[in-house]
Amino acid sequence: MPDALHLTETFLIELARARGLALDPARAAALRPQIESLLARLARFADLLPADTVPAPPAPVRPPAP
């Protein structure tokens, strides 16, 4: 299990700027707990996913063969 995330607002502002997005300190502060929560939950997937799991196919699921 990865360590708990502690992102800084400065890091978020810099990362956003590198992607062409203007993020002021207030917006970064509001976003930070949501990002930390989502990334922490996603980090669990690394332990939950069997190694041979492939991503879902980009094509739609097909009807079962007759």
Binding site: R19, L23, I35, L38, T53
Partner: protein, 466 residues
């Protein structure tokens, strides 16, 4: 027949009366336009009413039916569309300021198909901005209100569709469902909403939210009406690369077969946890009704279902942010605050986590398919709580999210319907969710119809909609 009686006829019955010449499509459109003018200021379900144009289409339908007979069961029946479907020459905004002046040149594929079926386009309906939310409290166009209690949200993102149907302002509607946006307003407003299998219905000409999760489907007041809409809109479309080549078939064929001999899977874990007591009681009562009708309830489980909401959240946020990136960089202040924040979040999802979310999507999909080898359908509540008050904060965290019982069917791509199965202690509608096998909407609709036939919840009307 009074305007109110006309407005609350099922689309199927209205189509039959139009076909027999007993009811004029012009009379129906006039009745609905009168009701919209009188009642909709209280609900805010319509963004655009196509009064003269709808009357012109109704006159053309009437003349064609008189001369050559009806094209099919929906000829002359009015339909109102979520404002996310492109309509040629008619403003299509996705409820946004960003696209406030957008007038598409072409119809969406499903709009083409509705026109081919002879429906009459009544107008465009309110929605959560860019379909990215569950309330339809729209900062640019105002709040859409739930006809059952105007202080409460109608659900979303297709909230205008749910409200207009419940209030008797339209007979049929189409919505989109990326994280529950058809089934949430269906449940919240006491109507029927079907999210078909991923790829069953074309998305060409539909403003996207997340390409690998977006579904188009019907909202209606009865199961038969939803099936008739599916007959009109489903089927292959080379214009949508992710649209399946499976033939659509007739979704009404098995409607009246009943549920005797069918197995109903009940996934207690996750789907019944943290659910309001009134809702749990209503859904368990619905399962008992299906049992009395001859179905066999069995326990079911989807082991990783509790991860489905997180996986969906990551995929949806990343894809939505990719689509919106150009506007976020140049017009961020033109988004409402909740949608802007959700879109900004998508910029911080690493590619590895996105791929792992897609891998979890496959795990959950396989587990659902396995559970559906032991049962013909799964049944569960649609929403854990009835609609919140307008302005109440909505969490996107998985334990608290209002749509957390909906998102597993989006992630797995399986067909799922919500239909009314009760009222809570405050008189707000409760929805029953039925999830089926891939491309087996027919069985989902059959079970839903069996429940509807045995009960009268679909006949209840919100107060003040006379």
């Amino acid at each position: 027949m009074s305007g109110e009686a006309l407005a609350f006829l099922s689309a199927a019955e209205l189509g039959r009366r139009i076909a027999r010449g007993e009811v004029s499509p012009v009379e129906v459109v006039r009745a609905l336009l009168g009701r919209i003018e009188r009642l909709d200021p209280g609900f805010g379900s319509f963004l655009l009413v196509l009064g003269d144009r709808a009357l012109e289409e109704a006159r053309a339908a009437e003349a064609e039916i008189a001369a050559r007979g009806p094209r099919g069961p929906l000829h002359g029946v009015p339909v109102a569309l979520k404002d996310i479907f492109d309509t040629a020459g008619i403003r299509t905004t996705a409820g946004s300021k960003i696209l406030a002046d957008r007038v598409p040149a072409r119809d969406a594929r499903v709009v083409d198909r509705l026109r081919a079926a002879g429906t009459v386009l009544l107008g465009k309906l309110a929605m959560h901005e860019f379909a990215y939310g569950t309330t339809t409290t729209n900062p640019h166009r105002g709040a859409c209100r739930n006809p059952w209690d105007r202080a409460h949200v109608p659900g979303g993102s297709s909230g205008g569709s749910g409200a207009a149907l419940a209030a008797g302002l339209a007979h049929l509607s189409l919505g989109t469902d990326t994280g529950g946006s058809i089934r949430i307003p269906a449940s919240a407003c006491g109507v029927v909403g079907l999210k078909p299998t991923f790829g069953r219905v074309s998305r060409r000409g539909v403003i996207p939210l997340a390409w690998s999760l977006d579904h188009v489907g019907p909202l209606a007041r009865t199961v038969e009406d939803a099936a008739l809409l599916m007959n009109a809109i489903a089927g292959p479309d080379p214009g949508d690369p992710w649209c399946a080549d499976a033939p659509a078939g007739d979704f009404t064929r098995d409607l009246e077969r009943g549920v005797r001999g069918l197995t109903i899977g009940v996934p207690e874990r996750y789907f019944f946890e943290g659910v309001a007591r009134d809702i749990g009681d209503a859904v368990r009562a619905a399962i008992a009704v299906l049992g009395r009708e001859g179905a066999r309830p069995v326990a079911a489980d989807v082991p990783h279902v509790s991860e489905a909401h997180t996986a969906l959240h990551a995929i949806l946020a990343a894809e939505a942010s990719a689509y919106h990136a150009p506007w976020l960089r140049t017009r961020a202040e033109d988004y409402g605050e909740d949608v802007r924040r959700a879109l900004e979040l998508g910029f911080f999802i690493p590619a590895v986590e996105y791929v792992n979310a897609r891998r979890m999507q496959q795990v959950v999909r396989e587990e659902f398919v396995a559970a559906l080898r032991e049962a013909d359908v799964l049944v569960a509540p649609s929403l854990p709580v009835t609609p919140p008050a307008i302005g109440e904060p909505m969490s996107r965290e998985p334990e608290a999210a209002w749509n957390r019982l909906m998102t597993p069917a989006n992630l797995s791509g399986l067909p799922a319907i919500s239909l009314p199965c009760g009222l809570d202690g405050a008189g707000m509608p409760v929805g029953l969710q039925i999830i089926g096998r891939p491309f087996d909407e027919a069985t989902v609709l059959r079970v839903a119809r069996a429940f509807e036939r045995a009960t009268d919840w679909h006949e209840r009307r919100p107060p003040g909609t006379e």
